[in-house]
């Protein structure tokens, strides 16, 4: 059960990372990146690192995403 969960999580991480690469809409890419961070946070919680998981949730998925959103708002949403 645990191993299945792990493999699933790792595969999902790779899929979301590829999705960030393929998405042309920067706003969508930033949100997908946020979900990637949340999944990473789940993985770390599972690996016995609650401190890091908490930081990643607050900083990686929270603050970093907000900063990206501000930057996209100030510049452009479309990738050419």
């Amino acid at each position: 059960m645990s191993l299945t969960f792990d493999i699933l999580l790792l595969l999902l991480l790779i899929v979301t990372a590829l999705a960030v690469a393929w998405t042309k809409d920067l706003l969508a890419a930033a949100i997908i990146f946020s979900s990637y961070s949340l999944m990473m946070c789940l993985l770390w919680q599972h690996r016995g690192a609650p401190d890091v998981a908490m930081t990643e949730a607050a900083v990686g998925a929270g603050i970093t995403t907000v900063l990206f959103l501000v930057a996209i708002g100030r510049t452009t949403r479309r990738e050419k």
Binding site: G60, F68, A71, E79
Partner: protein, 117 residues
């Protein structure tokens, strides 16, 4: 070899994510996209370091009543905490620069910027 890779599947996933991030940085033209790639790369490195400290059937390194070993190593966790802060600092600076570049040049596509130079 394959068995060793299977045992170290966390490390392998980190390497794959690292390379995906690097691919985004090199192959994509948009500066914000490049930075999303760098963040993926950073997270991959953190995942690698966290995986170093994992112990089978281990619990988080928090002592106190009711806690029983084996405990995961606390050092990688401390390192990654520092690393996450460094990552968000770099991101903040890079995005500030991107905003300024857009202000001055009206584009954030690397090839168009290169033509302007």
């Amino acid at each position: 070899m394959l068995e060793a890779l299977w045992n170290n599947v966390d490390y392998v996933a980190s390497v794959v994510l690292f390379c995906i991030g690097l691919y985004i940085i090199i192959a994509k033209n948009n500066l914000i996209k490049k930075f999303l790639g760098l963040n993926i790369m950073e997270t991959a490195v953190f995942a690698f370091i966290i995986a170093l400290g994992v112990v089978d059937d281990g619990s988080p390194p928090i002592m106190g009543e009711g806690a029983s070993g084996p405990f995961a190593s606390p050092i990688p966790h401390a390192l990654v905490l520092t690393g996450i802060v460094v990552a968000v600092s770099t991101t903040a600076l890079a995005l500030s620069l991107i905003i300024r570049i857009y202000r001055q040049c009206g584009t954030i596509e690397a090839d168009e910027l290169r033509e302007m130079e």
